[in-house]
């Protein structure tokens, strides 16, 4: 457990190697059990921002998770607190079998194999994939891959879940199942998405990214309205 705020970002700046600014002074706070949607056009810096929250990228400015500054000596602890779900589950599921993949995190953290496997089974049960232990990741459907990837994140019992476009590749029933599953999880969540229905279903608050900055922060519905972000509202505006 950790105190407030769960995540605090102050004046974060990041440039790519070619010099283009990806993040241009981002300030952000997340409190415990809060769910925030990250909206904004492609290339506005959402994913880059997410990668800073567990130190996969490190820019100028300050990022704190549970009061810990994101820097080299804290990375292991921070990566256990921050569970990051990547957009493409094929990139996240790299072990030969589902069970081994989910057990990857605890095993890397030095948990003994028996215990790591027990936790992995538990996490798979949590996402409704307990039957899939021995299957190979490339035999799973898109929805199953997403669930297994989520189990691989949940197994570390993170304080906050970070989801990058979690509904990509999912058919509508798959999207509904995922929303229902995410709703049951008690963790605070940050969700980068173009899917306004997902944002509405899960988040109360949203922030809007544009050219590497947060240009607006407020209730989800209000932001969707203000930026004309509703896919079905295009004809109305």
């Amino acid at each position: 457990m950790c105190g407030e705020p769960l995540i605090e970002v102050v004046n974060l700046r990041f440039r790519y190697e070619d010099g283009t600014a990806a993040l241009d002074g981002v300030d952000f706070r997340l409190s415990a059990s809060e769910t925030v949607a990250l909206l904004g056009p492609n290339g506005s810096g959402k994913t880059t921002f997410l990668l800073h929250l567990n130190g996969l990228l490190q820019g100028e400015g300050e990022v704190r998770v549970c009061g810990l500054k994101v820097e080299k000596q804290n990375l292991a602890a921070i990566r256990r607190k921050v569970g990051l779900l990547f957009q493409d589950p094929d990139e996240q599921l790299f072990m030969p079998s589902v069970l081994e993949d989910v057990a990857f995190g605890p095993l890397s953290a030095g948990v003994p194999p028996e215990e790591a496997l027990r936790r992995a089974r538990q996490a798979l049960a949590q996402v409704g994939m307990a039957e899939a232990c021995d299957r190979a990741p490339y035999h799973l459907s898109a929805g199953e891959k997403r669930r297994v990837a989520l189990a691989g994140v949940l197994v570390a019992e993170p304080e906050v879940l970070i989801l990058d476009e979690p509904t990509t590749y999912l058919d509508p029933p798959g999207q509904r199942d995922l929303v229902a599953l995410l709703r049951r999880l008690p963790q605070a969540k940050i969700i980068a998405t173009h899917d306004v229905n997902l944002a509405r279903a899960l988040a109360q608050r949203a922030v809007f990214f544009e050219r590497g900055r947060i240009v607006s922060d407020g209730p989800v519905e209000e932001l969707i309205e203000r930026f004309g972000w509703d896919t079905s509202a295009a004809s109305g505006s």
């Binding site: 990857f104 790591a116 190979a136 490339y138």
Partner: protein
């Protein structure tokens, strides 16, 4: 597809499937060596090896016809060389080439058809294969289908835009060359994303093996019995 069928076979349940992969690897190697060193005109020996393999196929519940057919994969090449040696007057060698190559592929198929690839790799590692080679193999096998699928899509896209046959010579080479280059770039980026996902989940420099292989009494017994049979055939006891 060839490997899909093999993989389905490898996931069946039988006493042969349940054996430790190390026992199967060592026995297969012994059998291959026995076949390779058998005299060219040892007809009875070859029949005995075939009988042994057939017994294993039946015990493992693999379709005998399917294995026999698939082992024919080697026949075009072996047949061509066999004909050459026949014509050169070396009839014994020509027959031996056909029999030895066919039986060897058959043995390899029995090994792969009764052992899931991931367990095969784990067995290789425990038998002393370098760790980095085994890791490369694991990642190679994991992403083989993902990247092949990308290549397929690119091929279809190229075809749907018209055949290159009529294009000027320069374009004919350049278009597929850029396709390969793009595939390279995508693979490279994917590798980086995979590595990031590993870091996000606490990768600490090496992948811990999950399901420790255990050589039980029955593995040693089966390996001993099979080795005994092979040696008895080879030494003509």
């Amino acid at each position: 597809m060839h490997h899909v069928v093999l993989e389905q076979w490898s996931r069946r349940a039988s006493r042969v499937h349940a054996l430790d992969p190390r026992a199967k690897l060592v026995v297969t190697l012994l059998l291959l060596i026995a076949i390779a060193t058998s005299p060219a005109l040892g007809g009875a020996q070859f029949a005995a090896y075939a009988g042994l393999l057939a017994a294993v196929v039946l015990a493992a519940g693999l379709p005998p016809g399917g294995v026999a057919l698939r082992a024919g994969i080697v026949l075009p090449f072996a047949g061509a060389l066999a004909v050459m040696n026949w014509l050169a007057g070396d009839v014994a060698r020509s027959v031996a080439i056909l029999l030895k190559s066919y039986l060897s592929v058959f043995a390899a198929l029995v090994l792969v058809g009764t052992t899931p690839v991931a367990r095969l790799f784990a067995g290789l590692e425990r038998l002393g294969a370098p760790r980095s080679l085994v890791l490369v193999l694991q990642f190679l096998y994991r992403y083989l289908f993902v990247i092949s699928e990308q290549a397929q899509h690119m091929r279809l896209a190229a075809q749907s835009r018209g055949a290159l046959e009529r294009a000027p010579r320069r374009t004919r080479l350049r278009a597929p060359a850029s396709a390969v280059a793009v595939l390279f770039a995508r693979s490279y980026r994917r590798a980086e994303a995979v590595y990031q996902a590993m870091l996000a989940r606490g990768f600490a420099g090496h992948v811990e093996p999950v399901a420790p292989l255990r050589l039980a009494g029955k593995d040693l017994l089966a390996a001993g019995a099979a080795s005994g049979a092979i040696l008895a055939i080879r030494l003509g006891l």
